[in-house]
């Protein structure tokens, strides 16, 4: 399952799990005593635009603010805050969701040492993520540049529609479709490859080819997202830069190297960050197309969590694996944030 539609990077280090109780506490500051104290605390406040704003009626203002915010806040607490904290809480218990949970201390954490599948699962996820993100960046950028450069409107429209369409299809639909296409003896892919005199593997059931097969499916299905990010990035590059470079005698490659690539760095950053996070949480292709197999060759972290929780009812241990998952994502975000400072070029307007 990819959640491409809705991700960005929060400031590095701001991790939701640790701060959720604060949201809950401040959710109830509508009380008069608090509000009165607040009003006394300062008469003016500098607005984001640097213009001082009067802060009269602070209490009524806060009340109105929390009233308007209450639906979002309640939903946030119930469906984002509590579940994230819940991972930590559940990691200390043994629980099958039917009989009451009982506390096992660090037992679930110790069990990691005896888990033979976890290592392979993590390396599957990581390998899949690196392969698919790299292909997304190269292919997405190349196709976006090609579409921006080509003069024919019909070709532009055709390419754009074709590349983005798969991204608009349900992951379930995509997975089912490819299970027919990549089927060993009955699928059209292998029929044509055999016709060409090749000896194609049994894609989804092969120990070597199953993970790359999922990469192919993933690229086909979600390249549209990366492509759009680069397309929008390219549109924001001022024409004068290319004109000036051409006048100075810069060739096409130099223009790409010195203008396009640096100016696209914010888009590249977003595409790799969302790509990594989305790919790491891949679920639907391994579930439907390979069922994690053969063996555990395509078992990804989310599929592992899903199976352990909803097929083996090991909720406590699953929570530990979920924490590992969160830790990997958070450290990735932190590293990306640090890298971005160095490599990402933001145009100052």
């Amino acid at each position: 399952m990819r959640v491409r539609s809705s991700k960005t990077l929060a400031p590095a280090g701001a991790v939701a799990a640790g701060v959720a109780p604060a949201a809950r506490a401040s959710g109830v500051v509508g009380t008069p005593a608090n509000a009165a104290g607040r009003r006394r605390s300062g008469a003016t406040v500098t607005s984001p635009r640097g213009r001082p704003q009067r802060r009269g009626g602070g209490r009524r203002k806060s009340l109105a603010a929390y009233l308007l915010l209450s639906p979002a806040l309640a939903l946030y607490i119930a469906f984002i805050g509590i579940p994230l904290l819940g991972i930590v809480v559940i990691s200390f218990v043994q629980w099958d969701l039917i009989s009451p949970p009982h506390f096992v201390g660090l037992g679930n954490y110790r069990a990691i040492g005896h888990d033979h599948q976890l290592g392979q699962t993590l390396s599957n996820s990581l390998l899949f993520t690196i392969m698919t993100t790299a292909i997304h960046i190269v292919l997405g950028m190349a196709l976006a540049i090609a579409v921006t450069t080509v003069r024919s409107r019909a070709v532009r429209f055709w390419a754009r529609t074709a590349i983005v369409t798969p991204f608009l299809m349900s992951a379930g639909v995509v997975a089912l479709m490819w299970s027919y296409i990549m089927a060993d003896t009955t699928g059209p892919l292998n029929y044509y490859l055999t016709k060409l005199g090749l000896h194609p593997p049994n894609w989804l059931a092969s120990a070597t080819w199953s993970l790359p097969s999922l990469v192919i499916i993933d690229v086909w299905a979600t390249l549209g997202f990366t492509f759009i990010i680069f397309l929008v990035g390219l549109q924001s590059i001022p024409a004068e830069l290319y004109e000036a470079a051409s006048i100075d005698g810069a060739g096409a490659f130099t223009r790409f190297r010195r203008i396009t690539l640096p100016m696209l760095s914010p888009a590249t950053f977003i595409a790799s960050a969302t790509g990594f996070i989305g790919a790491f949480e891949i679920f639907t292709w391994p579930l439907i197309d390979t069922n994690g197999g053969p063996g555990v060759a395509t078992q990804t972290i989310l599929l592992y969590i899903y199976r352990d929780a909803f097929q083996n009812y090991q909720f406590g241990y699953t929570a530990v694996v979920s924490l590992i998952n969160v830790a990997i994502l958070v450290s990735f975000v932190v590293v990306m944030g640090l890298l971005a400072r160095r490599w990402v070029h933001y145009e100052r307007v």
Binding site: M1, V3, S5, S6, K7, T8, L9, A10, A14, A16, V19, A22, S26, S47, P48, Q53, G58, K61, L69, P71, A72, A78, F79, I80, P83, L84, L143, I145, A146, V150, S152, V155, A159, I163, V164, T165, L168, M169, G172, V173, A175, L176, I181, T186, P188, I228, I229, V232, G233, S236, S246, A252, I270, I305, Y306, F310, A319, S322, V326, L329
Partner: protein, 288 residues
């Protein structure tokens, strides 16, 4: 491949009859075919007879167009109901999440109050982690709210779309505060300001949020798969997966028909909604 072609329209216009343009066009046409051919194959298969569908050599053009697969699909499974479920869930989430997001975004953009910074940081932090990472505790929450196996389980948790809150807040901040001030002098409250100023002036941004939310919910597989287990309550993609796995390779045609039914709106939808969609996604790439 195409990187040698980085030219801007302003420069491009000077030259004519470039062979590189031809090469580029051919590459893009082929790339487009590569992306659409699996969809075309499935759609064409859905109009074939069962014999043609199972033939080893792929038959692209049905010798006689038959709706047999569609009849099987709609008679042997409640697929129409599943489509209605998908529509209901998507519409409810798109409308509900837009309202929740507009209200929250307005507060974060316009009202100074104690706790604003920390709350906004919390909302931002949630953008980093996909909701799937906490699937297990979410399941527990939904179970204890007695929402398992109901459409509400798909709607209510999805009403909070942090990215929508964030996008709209950014957009509201670009609207001059003088407008609110003027309205306030005329006696307008927050809700009036939201309805009469914020929403009309940021309609493009709101509709972009609605399109990306709708696209995500309509296509979601993860949460319906987790929460719904009775066939009649499933959303369409899940129902199709269910049909395929229960049938175990039986009515392959019905699955093709279902896939086609779900694919075609995507192509048509893209043609109509592409600007909003690109704004919604492109927002990521250019902001910050």
């Amino acid at each position: 491949m195409s990187q040698s072609q980085v030219l801007h329209p302003a420069i491009r216009r000077r030259r004519r009859f470039e062979p590189s343009q031809w090469v580029l066009s051919i590459i893009l046409v082929i790339a487009g075919i590569a992306f659409l051919i699996p969809v075309a194959w499935v759609v064409l298969q859905s109009f074939e007879t069962p014999n043609e569908q199972t033939s080893v050599a792929p038959i692209w053009i049905p010798t006689q167009v038959t709706l047999h697969s569609y009849q099987t699909l709609f008679h042997s499974s409640p697929f129409l109901l599943n489509i209605i479920n998908s529509v209901v869930v998507t519409v409810a989430v798109v409308v509900g999440a837009a309202i929740v997001s507009v209200l929250a975004a307005y507060v974060f953009a316009r009202i100074e109050f104690r706790g604003r910074e920390i709350l906004f940081t919390l909302f931002l932090a949630a953008l980093t982690l996909p909701s799937q990472v906490s699937a297990v505790p979410s399941f527990v929450v939904v179970k204890y709210l007695h929402l398992l196996n109901t459409q509400a389980a798909l709607i209510i948790p999805a009403l909070i779309q942090v990215v929508g809150v964030f996008m709209l807040r950014q957009h509201f901040r670009t609207i001059p505060t003088d407008l609110d001030d003027a309205a306030r002098i005329d006696g307008a409250g927050h809700l009036t300001i939201i309805r009469r100023i914020m929403v009309p002036l940021s309609w493009p941004a709101i509709s972009a949020v609605m399109v990306i939310t709708g696209q995500y919910i309509w296509n979601d597989f993860f949460w319906p798969n987790l929460y719904i287990n009775s066939t009649s309550r499933m959303t369409a993609p899940l129902a199709l997966y269910n049909l395929e796995s229960v049938a175990g390779g039986g009515p392959i045609g019905a699955v093709f028909a279902g896939l086609s039914v779900l694919c075609v709106p995507c192509v048509i939808g893209f043609i109509f909604l592409q600007r909003r969609l690109m704004e919604g996604i492109g927002f990521r790439g250019i902001s910050r």
